[in-house]
């Protein structure tokens, strides 16, 4: 049996003295999509940061493809095929589209031309705006540019943090179509999302997180009730 793409074992994480993740286990099998749902402040993004080695857990283990990676640098992880698209806009606002794409060549020392070709094939709109500063793109275009890294660098594991934030439903739908395609290509994906319905449509597994703990985990249909409870309270 091969090791799962990502395994978090009894992870705790804290900002200073304040613990925000209290012992969480997550297993993302290879070629599957795992959605982490729940209200703001539940600790989802923190957990994703721990998975991407952007943040050191206070205890617990992070295994990627069976390798213990606690303490690795995020840049080393990125070069080895872990692609994190962070919350907010994962683009360099003061760099042009082309220059943003050039930054994606660190993984496997890709050729700039190849990266551009792949990105523009997937997102023709970016091709039209190639010499524009990323900060002047619309929200949807910026998120496409951020997602271009997932498309061009052939990651083994993709970590997505609230890619829908502040975007119109149609754009969100487009982005999730893409997530579905990437999953179909065999990339393992851990995604944090507030739009529960949207995320559950593409997920193989889902977990609901609240107050730094996982309340409920299973196939999307199994956790649907727990989701609505976590967002609107039991009476909603």
């Amino acid at each position: 049996m091969t090791a799962p793409a990502l395994e978090l074992r009894d992870v705790r994480a804290a900002y200073g003295r304040i613990e925000v993740v209290h012992g969480v286990d997550v297993v993302v099998p290879r070629s599957s999509v795992f959605a982490l749902l729940g209200p703001n402040g539940a600790g989802k993004s923190t957990l994703l940061k721990v998975a991407g080695c952007q943040m050191e857990p206070t205890s617990g283990c992070v295994h990627i493809a069976g390798v213990h990676v606690n303490g690795a640098s995020p840049e080393a992880l990125a070069r080895h095929g872990v692609c994190t698209v962070p919350e907010g806009r994962g683009v360099f606002a003061n760099l042009t589209v082309t220059e943003n794409l050039r930054m994606m060549t660190y993984r496997n020392n890709l050729r700039p031309k190849d990266v551009e070709e792949r990105a523009f094939a997937r997102f023709p709109r970016l091709g039209e705006r190639r010499s524009q500063l990323a900060g002047t793109l619309s929200g949807g275009e910026q998120q496409m540019l951020a997602m271009a890294r997932a498309v061009t660098t052939e990651p083994a594991l993709l970590l997505l943090d609230e890619i829908s934030m502040g975007l119109a439903p149609r754009i969100v739908a487009e982005l999730y179509d893409l997530v579905g395609q990437l999953a179909a290509e065999g990339i393992a994906i851990l995604l944090v999302e507030q739009f529960a319905r949207t995320a559950m449509a593409v997920a193989d597994f889902a977990a609901v997180m609240a107050q730094g703990r996982i309340e409920c985990v299973g196939e999307p249909a199994d956790v649907a009730d727990a989701v609505s409870g976590a967002y609107f309270g039991e009476v909603a």
Binding site: Q54, P74, A78, E99, M103
Partner: protein
């Protein structure tokens, strides 16, 4: 027309050198977030190394040039980054600032030790003697080379930053270091690159400038001010504007030399970069109040009034006892220590409590001494009032002019102010008289003569003790809390209705007034003051000294003052190291990279232990309801502030 043209050419050439150095400054600043006050000093070391290799060791010029620019300079940059700067992320701005200031002093001291300043040196111009004539104006090859190099560097840097992956990564790290890491670009390596490039450009500027002026340690080190003045035009961000700023400054200086009447010029000429910096800072749009806190800093515990009064009393008595056994020389040394402690106390109010950075504190001391010297004939108290008034008034004026700037920009402005005051005021023969020494009488109280050295020392001790009690009382009072609140979060203070501008003005005025009082004591102690007593570098040394001991510890201030006064004494025992003071203070400030809270915070655990022991001794009869010892978290060790701690 020819005159105009020749001044234009000189302006462009010097402007190109300013542009090179300021570009380096900006590259380092944007990649690391650290404004490197030692930038000029790095260029100075490079120029001296170049002199040593070519003139003294007879290396061929191209080889020496390659070695200095491509081996020594990047090595300096990398070393500085690895050893000092890497730990500074998220540290308070004042600490980041102080460390580069410390580096500057350290390099100064190092250079003075290796290259005796008394020995004149020159670097020959490149292709000396070769020149061409352009429209009737003689242009040397060196001048042409400077311009060509500047243009090549500007174009090269532009290509590097926009065409190569490393250059794009550098800009990406400026934008968002976390995201750069997620892309696989290591931010730490990119920052090192920023330091290396900065050091190379500083060195290039130093080597090109030295043949045009003299190979002088201080002069080249202060090139950093010109660099800032130019960089401020680009708001420390924009490289093309920075380059333009350099050219503008060069032309401004050159035209001033050409067209300002000679008598006026001789006074203002050295201050031209400062005037330029002032003007640019003042016309730049103001930053908005920024939300976001600096990393938690330690604070020194403030003792109760009773404790400070007892401690102050013990201190004065102890001073009386000790002073009975001191020789005249030692009395003066001890008095100087107390005066320095008083100056540091005034700086503590401003920096430690108010969170404002000033590198001009000795300027206010000098103004106080000046007023006392002019108006305090026979030691009248009128002179004392005038001294405090003049200093406080000037402090208020400086605060008014700098209300719009804060943090880094404020520090820069005060550096420029201090240096400008040296040039136009303290070095002015009309101020301190011919020979630069102004007699200052010792003030006297009705019925009490302070003419004897011991009596005057006691006056110093009493003034310090009273000021210390007053400052600590201030810290406990409403104003002190408001200052602490302002330095913790100015944004929150504004939303509570505080007028930040007035509060800043008040603390500046208070601090400058106290420094003016120190000037009265200093003048009285020495009998006369001279223009060399109030230099910008000495002001900087004091700022560093305060940081080294801990910005808000009154005990630390006293210890710092007394040890500072001992430097000349120690110096006389080690003639082999001519700038012991710069080296020691520089090194001490560099130590802040490891322990940003200063020496007194290191001593805090010992103080806590002592207090616990004392409390345990008298534990039995503790009255019901008396507070337990403060259950301070271990990482927030605090310190009891008592002057008795020094006495005992």
């Amino acid at each position: 027309m020819t005159t105009f043209l020749s001044f234009t050419i000189v302006g462009i050439v010097v402007g190109c050198i300013y542009a090179l150095t300021s570009t380096g400054l900006v590259v380092t600043y944007i990649t690391s977030g650290i404004l490197n006050f030692a930038h000029g000093a790095i260029g100075m070391v490079a120029a001296f190394a170049f002199w040593e290799l070519t003139v003294q060791d007879h290396w061929p010029v191209p080889l020496a040039l390659l070695f200095v620019l491509f081996v020594l300079a990047p090595l300096m940059g990398l070393l500085i980054d690895r050893v000092l700067m890497r730990n500074l992320h998220g540290k308070p701005e004042v600490i980041r600032l102080v460390i580069t200031l410390g580096l500057m002093l350290f390099l100064l001291g190092l250079a003075e030790t290796r290259w005796d300043p008394g020995f004149p040196r020159t670097i020959p111009k490149f292709f000396a003697g070769h020149e061409v004539s352009v429209l009737g104006v003689v242009v040397t090859y060196h001048q042409i080379i400077v311009v060509v190099i500047a243009v090549v560097v500007a174009i090269g840097l532009r290509l590097f930053l926009y065409r190569t992956r490393s250059g794009i990564a550098l800009r990406a790290v400026v934008d968002d270091p976390g995201l750069a890491a997620l892309n696989g670009a290591p931010p730490a390596r990119v920052r090192s690159m920023g330091w290396a490039i900065g050091a190379m450009l500083a060195s290039l500027a130093g080597i090109l400038l030295a043949p045009l002026v003299t190979l002088d340690i201080l002069l080249l080190t202060l090139l950093v001010i010109n660099g800032y003045a130019a960089a401020i035009v680009g708001r420390l961000r924009n490289l093309p504007l920075t380059f333009a700023g350099g050219l503008l400054l060069g032309l401004f200086e050159s035209y001033a030399v050409g067209y300002v009447p000679g008598s006026l010029l001789s006074q203002i000429r050295p201050t031209l970069p400062m005037i330029f910096l002032f003007v640019v800072l003042l016309i730049l749009p103001q930053d908005r109040l920024r939300v976001g806190r600096a990393a938690g800093r330690r604070t020194t515990r403030v003792p109760a009034l009773r404790t400070t009064l007892i401690a102050a009393g013990v201190f004065v008595v102890l001073a009386w006892v000790v002073s009975g056994h001191l020789s005249v020389t030692n009395l003066i040394t001890a008095g100087e220590g107390l005066v320095v402690a008083l100056v540091l106390l005034s700086l503590l109010v401003l920096t430690g409590y108010g969170g404002q950075i000033s590198a001009a504190q000795l300027t206010f001391v000098g103004l106080g001494a000046f007023a006392m010297g002019q108006l305090g004939h026979g030691g009248s108290l009128l002179g004392v009032l005038a001294a405090v008034g003049l200093s406080a008034g000037t402090g208020a004026l400086v605060a008014l002019l700098t209300l719009r700037v804060r943090g880094l920009y404020l520090a820069l402005t005060t550096v420029a102010f201090a240096q400008a005051m040296v040039y136009v005021f303290f070095d002015n023969n009309n101020v301190f008289g011919q020979g630069g020494a102004l007699a200052v009488a010792r003030f006297h109280l009705p019925g009490i003569s302070l003419e004897s050295d011991r009596a005057f020392l006691m006056a110093c001790a009493a003034v310090f003790a009273a000021a210390a009690v007053g400052v600590l009382a201030l810290r406990r009072a409403s104003f002190g809390r408001r200052l602490a609140a302002m330095s913790d979060s100015a944004a929150a203070c504004a939303t509570l209705g505080m007028n930040i501008a007035w509060t800043k003005l008040a603390v500046f005025t208070l601090s400058a007034g106290l420094a003016g009082a120190a000037g009265v004591l200093y003048g009285g102690l020495r009998g006369s003051v001279g223009s060399n007593d109030f230099t910008m570098l000495a002001s900087l040394s004091l700022l560093l000294l305060l940081a080294i001991w801990g910005v808000d510890s009154v005990t630390g201030v006293l210890l710092a003052g007394l040890t500072y006064a001992l430097f000349p004494v120690i110096q006389s025992h080690v003639p082999g190291i001519p700038s012991l003071q710069f080296l020691a203070i520089g090194l001490g400030a560099l130590g802040l990279a490891r322990n940003p809270d200063g020496i007194m915070s290191q001593l805090a655990p010992a103080g806590d232990g002592l207090r616990r022991w004392w409390a345990a001794r008298g534990a039995a009869p503790r009255p019901a309801g008396a507070p337990e010892l403060e259950p301070a978290p271990s990482d927030q060790a605090r310190e009891e502030e008592t002057l008795a701690g020094v006495a005992g």
